[in-house]
Symmetry: C2
Subunit: 202 residues, 2 copies
């Protein structure tokens, strides 16, 4: 591999492969423990490529997380026909039930990043952007539901979105920190019951 002059297409492929390796390393070792070596262990290509693309672990992880935010924004884009169905789809994307092992482990990484946020402005910025993406997606779908006459016109979409997001965050965190899928399923169900009662026009 000619690392001194990779083609643009190769570059994109390599960066995607590095991100995949980073994802697997983070799921396996957690945010604080993951080292460049762990990422290299998950990477099928030469470790020198990691250093060609990234100066250090911090730069690599920052790029990885920015890319995750782009993916989150895509995942939170729904445009089905029924706002209520779309709302449930969004709930499911944040807190899928059942949550598979990889999804659980990656959410633990996100929780570690959130817990580290008070000590690091770049983490706070990531958390802030992630919260904004999620909250905006919920607000949009609730606003659509109100406009369509499907949801109660008295509902404030921003306020409802914030509450849904906060409750889902609590649900996700309880579930992944204690490894308790039953609590996740039960709490998510209670949230949906609340949404039915609060949002839907009788």
């Amino acid at each position: 591999v000619n690392v001194s002059d990779p083609g643009v297409g190769d570059d994109v492929d390599v960066q995607a492969a590095i991100r995949d390796a980073t994802y697997r390393a983070l799921c396996r070792h957690g945010y604080h423990e993951t080292t460049i070596q762990h990422i290299a262990d998950e990477f099928e290509k030469s470790k020198s490529l990691l250093y060609y693309h990234y100066e250090n672990k911090h730069e690599l992880l920052t790029d990885f997380l920015r890319h995750q935010l782009d993916e989150l924004a895509e995942r939170m884009t729904v445009a089905g026909t029924d706002p209520y169905d779309d709302l449930l789809t969004l709930v499911d994307r944040i807190v899928p039930v059942p949550m598979d092992d990889e999804a659980t482990r990656f959410r633990r990484v996100l929780l570690e990043i959130r817990a580290a946020a008070p000590h690091d402005e770049s983490h706070r910025e990531l958390v802030r952007r992630s919260d904004t993406i999620i909250r905006s997606a919920f607000a949009d779908v609730i606003r659509r539901g109100v406009t369509a006459g499907r949801f109660d016109p008295a509902v404030d979409p921003e306020e409802a979105a914030e509450f849904v997001h906060t409750t889902l965050l609590g649900t996700m965190i309880r579930g992944v920190s204690l490894d308790d899928p039953e609590t996740v399923a039960r709490t998510r169900e209670t949230l949906v019951t609340y949404l039915d009662r609060y949002l839907l026009v009788d």
Copy 2:
């Protein structure tokens, strides 16, 4: 100070002073960064006393956190006259508004412990016990309210308690990870609005 044979009364005082120092060190440096030296720096007495009482940092922190759970259980004991007022008191004890700087910093420590829980059974046990204390307190007060005819008899106290706890956890975590007191206040208010609508008999 005769550290080889302290009286029992002294022992209790010393342990309380060590816990106070631990609390201050944790608030200042965060859970992962706090060292025995940081705790010693906050401790007015001889550092040798720390080692007389505790083998190492892990033992010291474990004892500190167990004691915090006892204090949590006391704080979550309310027996006012009105179940609805008691419910709001409990909400306020978990997520006080406004939250002062020390309360915010200590909640960040709790978030770090929760994020570390997947990797450590002793942390999971602490988180589980803490969750049980909080959930039981909410369930008790909601059950009292149902019995007293103050809350809707259709409400399931356990389910409602779990939902309130989860939402408060999400509120607390968003607020302390982003240092955003306005979000905390707004989300707590939305929760209280929900409680009014969901629990109270018209």
